[in-house]
Amino acid sequence: MPSLGADIEVGTIVEWRVRPGDRVKRGDVVAMIETEKGLVEVEIWQAGVIESIVMREGQKVPVGTVLALLRSDGAPAKAPEPVPAPVVAAKPPPPPAVASTPKIVPPTPAIAVAAAGRQRVSPVARRLAAELGVDLATVTGSGDHGAITKQDVERAAQRVAPPPPAVAPLQATVTTADRQAAMRKVIAAAMSRSKREIPHYYLGTHIDMSRATTWLAAENLKRAVPDRLLYSALLIKAVALAVREAPEMNGFWIDGGFKPGAGVHVGVAISLRQGGLVAPAIHDVDTLRLNDLMRRMLDLVQRARTGVLRSSEIADATITVTNLGGQGVETVFGIIYPPQVALVGFGKLSEQPWAAGGMIGARPVIAAALSADHRASDGHRGGRFLAAIDRRLQEPETL
């Protein structure tokens, strides 16, 4: 059971995606687990063959538990006593800092994610079926390629009274309200820990966005719908590049010392409409092309909405960006997500009076605010970091 960030300690296995004898490669999703922060697809970090499944579907297990045994490539198939390597028992090793080809997260749609040859069920439908006690084997799917949708499950639940659960009812009593309460609790724990342990300092500045928005509008005119960019992608990329000039903002405060992040993995705060918040990571943002970053953002938000994220996305963020501009907020002074050491908040992009060269004109302006851990950095460096973000946004074509 991999580490899923500081605030998740246990998870329930919802579904195995592999069986003994299956061959897996690095990055494959092997299981789906339910946590207080939603469903998580567990990725594997070694290639090999699944030797055996140790923990069954429906079992609730703490982080660090061995879930399955993997026979690494090269190990003899039927050797009498090779000790198989534990699968995903510990946090995966961080990717190399200079990886030019980061782990590619395949753009699998969140709907109908079941493995080939198995029943296709959307994660939302699977969760609902567990709640309502609907046996998915009795449901006919009406979605794409016969996938079972939430509506199919609802119809099935109305048709038949829920049968008595045969084996290990999977959280049959967990309701949406329970789930929201559980998520609230983990957020409360993480934020309390942050305010208790992290001596925050806050710095704010206003950034002239006229170059960035002009460039973006011209660029989007040339692009078809799926390739268009949002200014939030520019902000995230600018932060990731600015980190190179202020590496002490990127990483973790662990055991009384700063551990730099291996790569710039930007956590993107996503507010969930049903309540709560997740901040999954986009990996190696500093080396991602803007087009790819945009695609990852669209995919990540979509999957967060559907309630299924990957284990590496939940565990790996080295710095967080939050954007409350859509809510009309002018400035965001955020709380750092421990054990990270910095968070950059952006407010609303709006036209404001701006003095430059002895003249006052109207320009699109955004407020950027840094919350940083004073144990890991000082205000002077934080100021340089914000200035670097500003400078990057004045050269949008280089992002």
Binding site: V124, N220, S232, R273, V301
Partner: protein, 82 residues
């Protein structure tokens, strides 16, 4: 394509980005972004899904016209999906 078919396509796009929303309660005359609390990424995902489904490339300058469900259907009907 009928207005009903266009409406169905828009609702499919919304169901993708807001799976937790009960679409039967949607007020077709009220601004979608306000009503469903869609952020800019959600809205872009809606436009991308409509593009994939109906093949209509809505220029960025026309995004403000895609306010309510009714407005979306009217716009799309007038711009190629009719």
């Amino acid at each position: 394509m009928t207005n009903d078919a266009i409406k169905a396509a828009v609702l499919r796009a919304i169901a993708r980005v807001a799976p937790e929303v009960d679409l039967t309660t949607l007020d077709p005359g009220v601004n979608l972004r306000d009503q469903l609390d869609l952020d800019s990424v959600d809205f872009m995902n809606v436009v991308v899904a409509i593009h994939a489904d109906l093949g209509i490339d809505v220029p960025e300058a026309d995004y403000p016209k895609l306010t309510s469900l009714d407005a979306c259907v009217a716009y799309l009907a007038a711009h190629g999906a009719g």
